[in-house]
């Protein structure tokens, strides 16, 4: 039994003919880092490892026009031996260095201008607190005018897909957040394949992106692919239910799944622990590939490694959401008021909400997008292209004379030869047709 959601399992699935090549282009591997391998099993990988920033606003690097950095050591042997100028002559220090250390800031500046986008899907039975959690996470109320359906209306309801978009701006950074809601999931009496509309939706977004990316005009491609799916598991059961397993197995190769234990305030700590262990076991047992947190660099400090370990050990997160603010110990906190006490949402001892929020927004948002882009989308694209290839070879009656796979372009002579043969084939077929006609006429 693997304790916690450990290192990523090998990704090779049977029946897939692709082979993932190692990223040759990633030549700057940093300090003794290992390559990030997603599809093949193997070594753990370095990845962007920023710390979760403290709540007190720390000075953040701002996008500013390029300024040469202060003196740094140069490491190649090709450099001139430049004498360090006297400290008061700052102009000279400017001249010592080439100045491309401002490159990250240049990239930074463009991203700030462009803004980011992120698509989050929430799935689970109704009444598990999905909307409340979204409200608590992003502090926006997307469901103001929602009307909850009664039981009779729900009988005939099918799973819908609802999209809400909100633009958030903080400290000059724009985020276009799209929340994809799935009301009706798991609510019917017969829930067979109730995840089908959801998989269709995810595939549709991939297909749309594939078309856009392969088209002629690639200027303003909208990225609507689902980057992360928060799946709510009911705390009242004993681990995963069959519909949970079915949903996760249908979606784990298409989307990053982050399982959550909803409404965790109805469980005591020991029950939460047991439930988490149970869920982790079942996830392993059924072979579900949930989103794995990337490994830490070996040269990160202990603090950071400790935080990372805690994060991995507390998955799946037990969360509580609240859209009301109550008074506790003289402070106004977001929480739920019970006669026996106040549950504080942002208290780490009460629930894992803060961990979830930090993970989702402050440390792993980009990684989630990367995994969607590099793994799930590439899988889809490879699959799609192979389907097209096999369809084309099936349709042509003889063996296809034209090389269909995008091999390196054959030289002109082979192409000419192929075209000649094609012509011949066509002429022969026409002759055959004519002969058949003549025979029929006779």
């Amino acid at each position: 039994m693997v304790g916690g959601l450990g290192p990523r399992p090998p990704r090779a699935a049977p029946g897939r003919a692709w082979a993932r090549r190692a990223p040759i282009g990633c030549w700057a591997r940093g300090r003794g880092g290992r390559r990030r391998r997603r599809r093949r099993g193997g070594a753990a990988h370095p990845a962007a490892r920023p710390r979760p920033p403290p709540l007190v606003a720390a000075p953040r690097p701002r996008a500013r026009p390029a300024r040469p950095p202060p003196a740094a050591t140069m490491s190649t042997g090709l450099r001139y031996k430049s004498k360090l100028a006297t400290p008061e002559d700052k102009q000279d220090i400017d001249k010592q260095y080439v100045g491309f250390a401002t490159l990250p800031n240049q990239v930074h500046r463009k991203s700030v201008k462009k803004g980011f986008d992120f698509t989050l899907m929430v799935a689970g039975e109704s009444g598990l607190g999905k909307s409340t959690l979204v409200h608590s996470l992003f502090l926006t109320d997307l469901y103001k005018d929602r009307k909850l359906l009664s039981a009779e209306e729900r009988i005939s309801q099918t799973v819908e897909i609802l999209k809400h978009t909100v633009d958030i701006e903080e400290k000059g950074v724009k985020l276009k957040l799209t929340i994809v809601d799935t009301p009706g999931f798991g609510d019917a009496v017969n829930n067979t394949e109730c995840w089908k509309p959801i998989t269709d939706y995810v595939d549709q977004q991939f297909e749309q992106y594939f078309r856009d990316e392969s088209g002629l005009n690639r200027k303003n491609i909208q990225d609507n692919r689902v980057h992360c799916c928060l799946y709510f598991i009911s705390p009242f059961g004993h681990g995963l239910r069959p519909v949970d397993v079915g949903f996760m197995k249908a979606l784990h190769e298409k989307v990053n799944i982050v399982p959550l234990i909803a409404k965790a305030d109805c469980l005591v700590p020991s029950e939460i622990r047991k439930l988490k262990e149970r869920i982790r076991e079942e996830i392993d047992k059924f072979g579900i590939h949930v989103y794995q947190f990337p490994e830490c660099d070996s040269d990160e400090d202990e603090d950071f490694k400790q935080q990372d370990r805690e994060l991995k050990e507390s998955a799946p997160f037990a969360v509580i959401g609240s859209n009301t603010v109550v008074e506790a110990k003289g402070q106004r906190v977001r929480g739920r008021l019970y006669p026996w006490g106040i549950v504080e949402v942002e208290n780490q001892a009460h629930c894992d909400f803060v961990k979830l929020r930090n993970m989702l927004i402050r440390t792993h948002m980009h990684d989630l997008k990367d995994v969607t882009c590099d793994v799930h989308y590439e899988n889809y694209r490879a699959h799609c292209i192979q389907q097209m290839t096999s369809k084309l070879t099936q349709d042509s009656r003889m063996e296809s004379p034209i090389p269909i796979l995008p091999l390196p372009t054959p030289d002109a002579e082979t192409e000419k030869l192929i075209r000649m043969k094609d012509e011949e084939l066509r002429r022969m077929q026409e002759m055959l047709q004519r002969m058949k006609q003549q025979m029929q006429d006779q």
Partner: protein, 358 residues
């Protein structure tokens, strides 16, 4: 869909709410600016790439200029001996170095073009250069349409071409005009006046003026292109640059002592020409443009405009179109088609409805 909300103050960042709901108090910001940190760290880990090409007649100080720009002996500047004949055809030499500064790694590739414009008959001397540039685009395109592609496609496309104009003092020569016309459609071109220490300040200004006029008359759009300015700040910044293009530069790789400081320069009997002194030459402007402020922009325009133009041409040329979306079998590139100057130009950001997908 909620309207765009702006946070009023940077430190408290309390979010204003819509009038119909009760105010939702924030106890701590959401923290989305941390995404920028994530991006930055990822960019630093991956390292950056930059490919620059220098074009000009021999003896104009191209190799020296590259050495000065990157403060390293990228090229061993050795003048050809008397007995060595100049190369008969234009050859392209590429040299790659990894330089690091303050934790940022840059993989720099410099392509030199010895033999450009040195023959008696210089017809079509730009063909090998255009061929090389298009070859890099083709390589990238082939990588991009593979079924299983690499996560990070190695980028060998030429991001910037620095063209050295000899300091005649009159105006652009026919060779310069022909070359620039063809090249500005395929790559970002930055013309510079080479060996500007043979021109006085007034001569420089007059020469620059005439060159700018020539460029305008022949519709040569050099970097920074006006049509790609994204907003008003960019336009102001770039207009200042456009006034000073072409920069009058002097390259030097020897250091001399001036007033107790060690500077790069050329020592003559009548004084020392300091390379990094704005009063003497405009080398700092060139360096700032290429490296400190516009490097990423150069790469972006190459990727979003020039490469996309190339891709559209290639996709339109291929005759075999599959029935499904997006994936094509490319017809082999015929060299003749791509080197003749085309008259269309795709503007960044504009919706090009006529080029919709098949």
């Amino acid at each position: 869909m909620d309207p765009l909300r702006r946070s009023p103050s940077p430190c408290l960042s309390s979010r204003p709410s819509s009038p119909s709901t009760p105010p939702c108090e924030m106890l701590g910001p959401v923290g989305i600016e941390a995404v920028l940190d994530q991006l930055k760290i990822k960019a630093m880990k991956m390292g950056f790439e930059f490919n620059i090409m220098v074009v000009g007649q021999s003896g104009l100080g191209k190799s020296t200029m590259v050495n000065t720009l990157f403060k390293s002996k990228v090229w061993k500047s050795n003048p050809p001996g008397l007995g060595v004949p100049p190369p008969q055809t234009l050859q392209l030499h590429s040299v790659t170095h990894v330089i690091e500064e303050k934790g940022v790694k840059l993989k720099l590739t410099v392509t030199d073009t010895p033999g450009f414009g040195d023959q008696i008959n210089n017809d079509n001397c730009w063909d090998p250069i255009l061929g090389y540039i298009n070859e890099q685009y083709e390589q990238y395109l082939q990588e991009e349409i593979l079924i299983t592609r690499q996560r990070h496609i190695p980028d060998t496309r030429v991001h910037c071409c620095v063209y050295f104009v000899p300091p005649t003092g009159h105006c652009l020569r026919p060779l310069d005009i022909e070359f620039l016309q063809r090249l500005c459609r395929t790559v970002n071109v930055v013309p510079v006046i080479a060996r500007a220490d043979s021109l006085t300040m007034e001569e420089r200004e007059a020469f620059r003026h005439r060159i700018q006029q020539n460029l305008r008359t022949h519709c040569i759009d050099v970097y920074p292109q006006m049509c790609f300015d994204e907003d008003i700040n960019d336009r102001i910044l770039n207009s200042k640059l456009r006034d000073r293009i072409p920069f009058a530069v002097v390259g030097a790789d020897q250091e001399h002592l001036v007033n107790g400081r060690c500077v790069l320069g050329r020592k003559t009997k009548w004084g020392i020409i300091e390379v990094e002194n704005m009063a003497h030459c405009e080398f700092p402007l060139l360096r700032d443009l290429l490296i400190r402020s516009h490097l990423q922009d150069l790469k972006d325009i190459t990727h979003n405009v020039h490469y996309e133009n190339y891709r559209v041409i290639r996709l339109n040329e291929s005759h075999l179109l599959p029935r499904g979306p997006g994936w094509v079998n490319l017809a082999p590139a015929s060299p003749g088609q791509l080197t003749t100057p085309r008259t269309f130009k795709v503007c960044r950001g504009a919706h090009d409805d006529s080029d919709d997908e098949f």
